[in-house]
């Protein structure tokens, strides 16, 4: 779950990380008032969950309150990267001497959080990682120890700071680590961290919370405006139905049980010359009702010309699968061809149920994929 910049900054500020003077505005009048209160010039930033808003015109400077009104009028209610801007953050314009990158992510291989820091802030860090990886400091944190002040000092030294600046930066880095851990963040980022005469100030902020940890952060969930902007309409609908679904651009619906098996199924369909319309993973132990829901959902997709269901029965039972498919076909009254591959628990019962209705069952994934590809072509 992603938080907006202003929400992330509120959390950072709570932990003592310096942030610019700012005020949230939902109308041009509010933006004008905010600019008058905090003094000009100001910067007005569209609050969006997508990256690259600067280049898309989502960050604009204003020299006086009247200008702030004009700028906010040009942002609020407009679409940037296809998303309507509803809120803008009005901030004091910082006098920036230098820019630092600071980020904390999870290092999958080490099983730790890792602090990423670079003296080349303000630019796309993935681009820096690609062209000049030596400019990024990677500092893995011992999970049982945490990030101590002396670790922060080492990172600050490596970034080239000394004296009181070094100490201030070290303190800020340890605070950022606390933010990452205590909010269960997958990504905690300040880019850029502005170096000013008044010290280090978080000019931008990103915070993405681990979806598995949302039960610990009810307050953040309530405040969140993350409605899954990166998901398509069908993906959002699937999410509401509790289905693990990814939309693809073909015409063969694919349903499997288990992420790996379902991925292998779309790969095999592709290998056999077909184009999958989706990835739908039933997960473990699906009931007939859940299978019916999934099959109905995919069959109702007008792009789908044929459906391939691939079940490896363990906890999921093949007879339950058959029942779910039959119910879904009755409900949707579809003539679209369905190919079923099932193996494992109660396989014979499942195959018999489907055979009675004239639905094809095949023994292997490869044969089933071939058949589905042929049927989707109308063969």
């Amino acid at each position: 779950m992603k938080l907006l910049e202003y929400q992330a900054k509120q959390i950072f500020a709570k932990y003592g990380i310096p942030t610019p003077k700012s005020k949230l505005a939902e109308s041009p009048n509010e933006a004008q008032d905010a600019a008058r209160e905090m003094g000009t010039p100001v910067v007005i930033k569209a609050q969006l969950l997508v990256g690259g808003r600067g280049k898309a015109g989502g960050i604009v400077f204003a020299d006086d309150p009247a200008d702030a009104f004009k700028v906010a009028s040009g942002l609020l209610g407009k679409k940037i990267k296809d998303i309507e801007v509803r809120k803008a953050l009005v901030e004091e314009k910082l006098d920036i001497k230098d820019e630092i990158y600071l980020g904390i992510i999870v290092d999958r291989q080490r099983g730790t959080y890792v602090v990423l820091a670079s003296a080349e802030g303000g630019v796309d860090i993935e681009e820096v990682a690609r062209v000049a990886p030596e400019k990024i400091i990677r500092f893995p944190v011992d999970p049982l120890l945490g990030l101590k002040t002396y670790h922060g000092l080492r990172i600050a030294r490596q970034l080239g700071y000394s004296g009181s600046e070094m100490q201030a930066l070290a303190s800020l880095i340890t605070k950022l680590y606390r933010v990452a851990v205590e909010t269960d963040a997958e990504l905690t980022e300040i880019n850029p961290l502005a170096v000013t005469d008044k010290g280090f100030i978080a000019a931008d902020a990103r915070l993405n919370v681990d979806n598995n940890a949302l039960f610990r952060h009810r307050d953040l969930v309530e405040a969140s405006e993350d409605r899954g902007g990166e998901f398509s309409e069908r993906e959002m609908e699937a999410k509401e139905k509790g289905l693990t679904y990814v939309e693809l651009d073909g015409n063969i619906g694919v349903i499997g049980n288990g992420a790996g098996l379902t991925m292998a199924t779309i790969d095999t369909v592709t290998l056999k010359g077909g184009r999958p319309a989706n990835f739908l993973d039933l997960g473990g132990g699906a009931t007939p009702e859940r299978i019916e829901k999934a099959v109905t959902f995919v069959l109702s997709d007008s792009r789908v010309d044929a459906l391939l269901v691939n079940i490896l029965g363990g906890i999921t039972r093949c007879d339950d699968t058959a029942k779910g498919i039959i119910q879904a076909r009755e409900h949707t009254r579809t003539e679209k061809p369905i190919v079923v591959r099932m193996m494992g628990t109660n396989e014979d019962e499942g195959k018999q149920l489907l055979a009675e209705l004239g639905i094809d069952t095949l023994d292997t994934m490869e044969e089933a994929a071939e058949r589905a590809v042929a049927l989707a072509r109308g063969e």
Binding site: P143, A259, G260, L261, T268, V269, T345
Partner: protein, 296 residues
């Protein structure tokens, strides 16, 4: 992991397991299936349910009591995600090893902590979000359907569950069978890596060849490839990587199965493993066929 016959084994017939979360739906269901398979399930643990009996297995309130009274030496965990960290730490502290974590949806911060504690103590954590372990004919500590496995010489290591069953079934049908199978789990952070398991398969006399089942996301397969290329694993190996048709930036079912930027693609993983001398199956069934050819 314990030392048996000079080779460290994951599970075998001397494994005496306790089930944490035995009174829940999943715990109950799989306890029965593991008992049917012949696994020694000596105790169950659910705080507040001490004194109950599940499928003939006594339930305790704490892991320590169960271990002391019944001399358990391994644990399998089905407790809900929000309580999983506590359960795993309790098992580690009680000297149980391995600790198999079936639970799905554990916050990554909790997994980081349990994996760090386990490493500090030398405990093997399998999972989280994994199907568990099986040594056909001796011990099943997991949720895999038992009927597809048979005793044999192929070691299987996989990030996925059902895809691992798919390939295990082909390995059985083709007449090879499995020595030991390990499901690593589908989360971004897990207790075991491909390399950990390959090291063990290299030493295990019962394993003649290995199937590596990977998927998009992270770089665990690339690291395994480097380990093999450097001579760390010398037996024949075949691999299948799921997610060639996946789209970047989308999580494909598993929390860890996501292509981020240009890293974690199936192509990159297949190329790395191929260059390390691992035969790549373009379809799951090919993995079994390749292994049969390579052992012929």
């Amino acid at each position: 992991m314990r030392e048996v016959n000079n080779v460290t084994r994951f599970v075998n017939k001397s494994t005496r397991a306790l089930v944490q979360g035995i009174t829940g739906t999943q715990g109950r269901f799989h306890t029965e299936l593991m008992l049917e398979y012949g696994t020694q399930i000596v105790a169950g643990v659910t705080p507040g349910k001490g004194g109950e009996i599940v499928h003939g297995v006594p339930v305790y309130d704490t892991v320590e009591e169960a271990r002391v009274e019944l001399n358990a030496n391994a644990s399998i965990i089905y407790v809900p995600a929000r309580f999983a960290l506590d359960a795993v730490l309790e098992a580690i502290e009680a000297d149980l090893d391995p600790v198999v974590v079936i639970t799905e949806g554990i916050p990554v911060r909790d997994t980081i902590e349990m994996v760090a504690r386990a490493k500090a103590k030398g405990t093997t954590i399998v999972g989280p979000n994994c199907p568990g372990l099986i040594k056909p004919g001796e011990c099943k500590l997991g949720i895999m359907p038992a009927q597809i496995f048979r005793e044999g010489s192929i070691g299987i290591v996989s990030r996925s569950g059902t895809l691992f069953y798919e390939i295990a079934a082909h390995v059985s049908r083709i007449g090879l069978g499995q020595s030991t199978c390990v499901g690593l789990g589908g989360d971004p952070v897990v207790g075991l890596s491909f390399i950990d398991v390959l090291k063990w398969f290299e030493e295990d006399d019962e394993t003649e060849a290995v199937a590596i089942i990977g998927e998009i996301g992270g770089d665990a397969e690339e690291r395994a490839a480097r380990f093999i290329a450097d001579g760390g694993f010398t037996k024949p190996a075949a691999a299948y990587i799921a997610g060639r048709a996946a789209v970047a930036g989308k999580r494909m079912g598993h929390a860890g199965a996501i292509i981020e930027g240009s890293s974690g693609t199936a192509e990159g993983k297949m190329k790395a493993l191929g260059e390390a001398g691992v035969s790549i199956g373009d379809q799951p069934v090919r993995v079994a066929e390749i292994l049969k050819d390579r052992l012929a």
